[in-house]
Point group: C2
Chain length 337, copies 2
């Protein structure tokens, strides 16, 4: 390809999605472009103003990113051309970023300690230990998803400190850089700490060592980017192997008739009929009617360009049972067992 | 029954859950007791300090309440005795509450109008019209779920106004009552408006006329409350009727072996085998291992106390396929088709 490809990601700079985008789309071959919302990333890919996009899909501790699911549900018909063409897993390691010494007289006293918590049960002891004294910290900034991921550390070392939700962890680091009092700290990434020249007061704050986020790579249905191995071994008539099933993933959404709850089981049975392994199921309100849902299933295997693989047959099978369905893409499995 | 029963609900006073609790547990037969968090409601029922509890489960626009799902998942084993024994559907109609006239010189000028929005597409026009002039409003308080439910009204009539997330819609009304400037407003319930003596600046702000929330009623597994009809028609050997299936709902959670994705389809097939209609499916991280899930399915029908109904047989069938499973209760369907 001649020009340098542009790839949209959920920004700002130094967000975890930025890091995922850089992993999958290394410079100098690609230019990655920050967007304000997940909807903006979908819109940029849909309109063709960028060739691909990167959005968060699920976190191993917090679960699905419902904004992304709702954009795939696409009830307003704004993103008809969007397909998933890849995934990126990124370990999410939060740092406590700030300033190591507060100006005199700004010491954060009256700190509640972990022993004062009168919750349902005592908190687990945090794995992470502070690298600097934290007594001067009186205010914490982060994205709301991060608090839940760092519960043990916060309860053990920063209990009772005021928490302010901001739009992203990287925005939190930026706010702390601009705060002259020196008494605020951000829960954010290593990259955001380095970008903003902040000190690392603690590292690996997350309760769960395996804390990670899965991002999906989006493209337009009609793009002409060649992807190595995308059609490998799928000549018409060539049988699918177990390896081919394990190597790819497919995302499908569907709705069922209202007041026909048997149809949901019927749709799921179609995947089983063709021996397809379901790896996840989600549902969201369809907003078509009250208590009507759109379902998302992820299966192992891929829709073949040609021929009649198991995924192709299952999708055909949905025609008879689902009210509507949509193939949202097939891509190479990036999770090594 | 001799004493007056105490029922815990997710508070504070005048919350939507409070209204659901009053609908299901009318005074003077019951005393309803507010709790600070959903976890507190579970804990009060589990400990037996109240006989029943009421928690939000899903909203027709926003989807599942993940805090409630995570408490049912009960990964820490704190709520082993909790069962669902009922449900309440409540239409959620938001009001804009505040003061109709601002002190002089506090006029909220520089209001962005809907035409200035440079979003993906133009917003829908709001169904609701203001009952009073809103020019003096410079600050909005509500629970974060409410913003998304009132998107059309906010974009049309209060675009660009600062929004502050608080812990509940009733808390928002309380804050506005205490704000002497008169320039703040809350998105909250009619009941909260009346309780706080606020003016109704607009009513029925929700985009979706059918906006409603489903609440679940919790009890302890070993309680001795008699429920009319609970065992009706379920004498051993008496066949289940279609009517019995339509009249009850059952909630079940299960996990499958990690790296055995075929097991998920296997578990779902068990329900189909016994002719049980799935009405919803949800998944949450199990936190047992990274990318391991706990699944929640809701089915029509009930687990019989005695005899061998379809639900009883399906639960037995899960033994062979699921890694673990838990019956979370059966109750009378409150949604009339």
């Amino acid at each position: 390809m001649a020009g340098k490809e542009e790839v949209a990601f959920l920004g700002p700079i130094a967000s975890y999605t930025h890091q995922a985008a850089l992993t999958h789309f290394p410079s100098p071959h690609y230019t990655v472009v920050p967007q304000t919302t997940i909807a903006d990333v979908f819109a940029a890919v849909q309109s063709g103003s960028v060739s691909q996009g990167v959005v968060p899909f699920e976190n191993s501790s917090n679960g699905s990113v419902i904004f992304t699911l709702d954009l795939f549900a696409d009830l307003a018909g704004r993103n008809p051309e969007i397909l998933v063409c890849g995934e990126v897993y990124l370990g999410v390691h939060h740092c406590l970023l700030g300033h190591s010494a507060a100006p005199e007289g700004q010491d954060g006293t009256d700190r509640t300690t972990a022993e004062d918590v009168s919750g349902v049960s005592s908190p687990k002891k945090s794995r992470a230990k502070p690298l600097r004294d934290l007594k001067h910290i009186t205010k914490l900034y982060s994205h709301h998803q991060a608090w839940g991921q760092c519960n043990d550390f916060l309860t053990t070392h920063l209990n009772g400190i005021e928490r302010i939700d901001v739009s992203s962890t990287s925005k939190a680091a930026e706010i702390v850089r601009q705060d002259d009092s020196g008494c605020s700290a951000a829960i954010s990434s290593r990259m955001a700490g380095e970008l903003n020249g902040l000190e690392f007061l603690a590292e690996n704050l997350e309760d769960n060592e395996g804390n990670s986020t899965r991002f999906l790579v989006l493209r337009r249905r009609d793009d002409r980017i060649s992807r190595p191995d995308e059609s490998a071994g799928e000549a018409d008539g060539e049988a699918e192997t177990d390896d081919e099933h394990a190597r790819y993933k497919t995302l499908v959404s569907f709705t069922v008739r209202h007041n026909e709850p048997g149809d949901l089981a019927g749709c799921l049975a179609v995947f089983q009929k063709y021996g397809l392994n379901l790896t996840s199921i989600n549902s969201r309100p369809s907003n078509e009617a009250t208590w009507h849902y759109i379902f998302f299933v992820e299966i192992m295997g891929r829709k073949r360009h040609v021929g009649s693989g198991a995924v192709n047959q299952a999708l055909k099978g949905l025609d008879g049972v689902a009210q509507s369905w949509r193939w949202l893409g097939s891509w190479e499995n990036a999770l090594k067992a």
